[in-house]
């Protein structure tokens, strides 16, 4: 059930690569079909993005490569520093909320950001190399994250790692093996276990099924859906795949050339798309 207050509100998220000039914003975007400023050459990865994520909901961001959707998720996870924008958190975790009340967490020190990340967020990247240390055991990867979230007892951490790996259908017998030996789908499942280990309030999924073959993709999606329901975690799903968006999300934002061109209920976006780009996207889908 949605309740009225979002756990995360972002306004005017903006990221540019280059010096920037007065014309950058008005000369780029979907109306021009480009995200590079013709005056100064700056690339506008994304600009003016507003979004709100409510408890337990699954919000989708869809768009083609280069539309800025991964930049948005990485700014929310503090992997990329935003050039402009405001992110407010109201997570329901009292300790975190007291620290961040009415503040723009984008302005926090890197230490402060890390604390927030460890307390309330989990992320799964398209590329498992970004989310996992490939040479440390699967169990060790999860334990490392638990350590950052304040866990200290080795036995407890090991127990929790095993539980999470079991939940994400990674054979526990392989928990002491390094993920570099695992298949792509298995690496993704270890990443999911790691992302969920600190019981995040917000789960960020960045193209998690891209590059996996269809049957593995299906298993990963089923797993995410099951865990999402079980754990009631609010989730932001970034994907270029309308099938993934249809399957997982209730609301969707459509991005193009670094801007949000349309946002709505997912079935409305798919059945009655308003923006020319969304219409093209929906009519291009294979099914």
């Amino acid at each position: 059930m949605l309740i009225k207050n979002p756990i995360l509100t972002a306004t005017n998220l903006t990221k540019r690569y280059g010096p920037g000039c007065a014309k950058c914003l008005e000369q780029t975007g979907p109306d021009y079909g480009r995200n590079q400023c013709p005056v100064c050459g700056t690339v506008i990865a994304c600009a003016g993005v507003d979004l709100a994520i409510h408890p337990q909901e699954v919000l989708g961001v869809v768009g083609e490569s280069g539309s800025g959707k991964s930049t948005v998720i990485k700014m929310l996870h503090f992997d990329i520093d935003a050039d402009d924008g405001h992110v407010g958190l109201h997570t329901g975790k009292i300790e975190t909320d007291n620290r961040v009340r009415n503040q723009n967490v984008l302005k926090f020190s890197s230490f402060g950001k890390r604390q927030i990340r460890n307390a309330v967020m989990g992320i799964v990247y398209q590329n498992p190399h970004l989310g996992l240390r490939m040479n440390i055991s699967a169990g060790g990867n999860i334990a490392e994250r638990l350590l950052m979230a304040g866990w200290r007892n080795v036995g407890d951490m090991r127990k929790r790692s095993a539980m999470l790996l079991d939940k994400t259908e990674v054979p526990i017998s392989r928990m002491d093996e390094a993920p570099r030996n695992f298949s792509g789908g298995m690496q993704q499942r270890v990443q999911i276990a790691k992302a969920l280990s600190n019981e995040p309030v917000l789960l960020l999924l960045d193209e998690v099924t891209t590059g996996l073959d269809v049957s593995v993709q299906a298993r990963v999606l089923d797993l995410i859906r099951k865990l999402q329901q079980e754990m009631d975690v609010a989730t932001l799903v970034v994907s270029h795949d309308l099938g993934v968006i249809r399957m997982l999300t209730t609301r969707t934002m459509v991005m193009k050339n670094g801007r949000v061109v349309e946002a709505g209920l997912t079935d409305q976006i798919l059945e009655d798309p308003q923006h020319p780009y969304t219409q093209l996207l929906v009519s291009s889908a294979l099914h």
Binding site: M247, R251, L265, Q268, E271, Q274
Partner: protein, 236 residues
Amino acid sequence: MLRVNNLSKTFTIHNLGAKEISGFRPVSFEVATGKTLALSGPSGTGKSSIIKCLYRTYLATSGSIEYTMANGETVNLVKLPDTEMVRLRQREIGYVTQFLRVLPRVSATEIVAGPLIGTGVSYDDAIQRATVLLRRLRIPDELLDAYPVTFSGGEQQRINIARAIIWKPRLLLLDEPTASLDKGSIEIVIELLNELRQQGTTMVMIFHDPDVMHALSDSIYLTQTIQEEECCECNR
């Protein structure tokens, strides 16, 4: 409970040079709490589109849909923020068509129990109620744990109907959910829907079969063919 005022829908197809297509003639109607209204009219008069506007799968172009919620507050479904609409769909407004659009690799009972889980009903209890309902709809026991993608058209429609009525929505929108059911199954569906009516569910429905329509509706609204002068394309 529901007051539709001059509702209209125009589709703008951008890759056909912003061609405009009218979805239906502007409609106005009212449905009182606990009453049922059937939309009736020739094919192509926009009955399904009207229902989709009510559910917000389509964004209405003009007009309003005033809906009085369980808490007594009246909202306009055309303008309601997305998150509020999601909440209404979870708590009050149900929608069912003849097409089963469900997640793959989920069993029949889980699909039907889905809307109950999260409303405070326990998983086991929800599954139990889904099983009872599916048996009443004469779904064979060996199919209860199977994936409905593999079911026959008629079985899929019964899964669909079960999912729509199990949580007893306040307002139920029905778009031909019995299109390919045999007579026996249709009678069971009529019985179930009439039970829901007695328990106070308001309904807006489309049924081509006049017998079904009359068995379920308190009143009928006739949709009309879009006339030439109203067709945006011809106005240019």
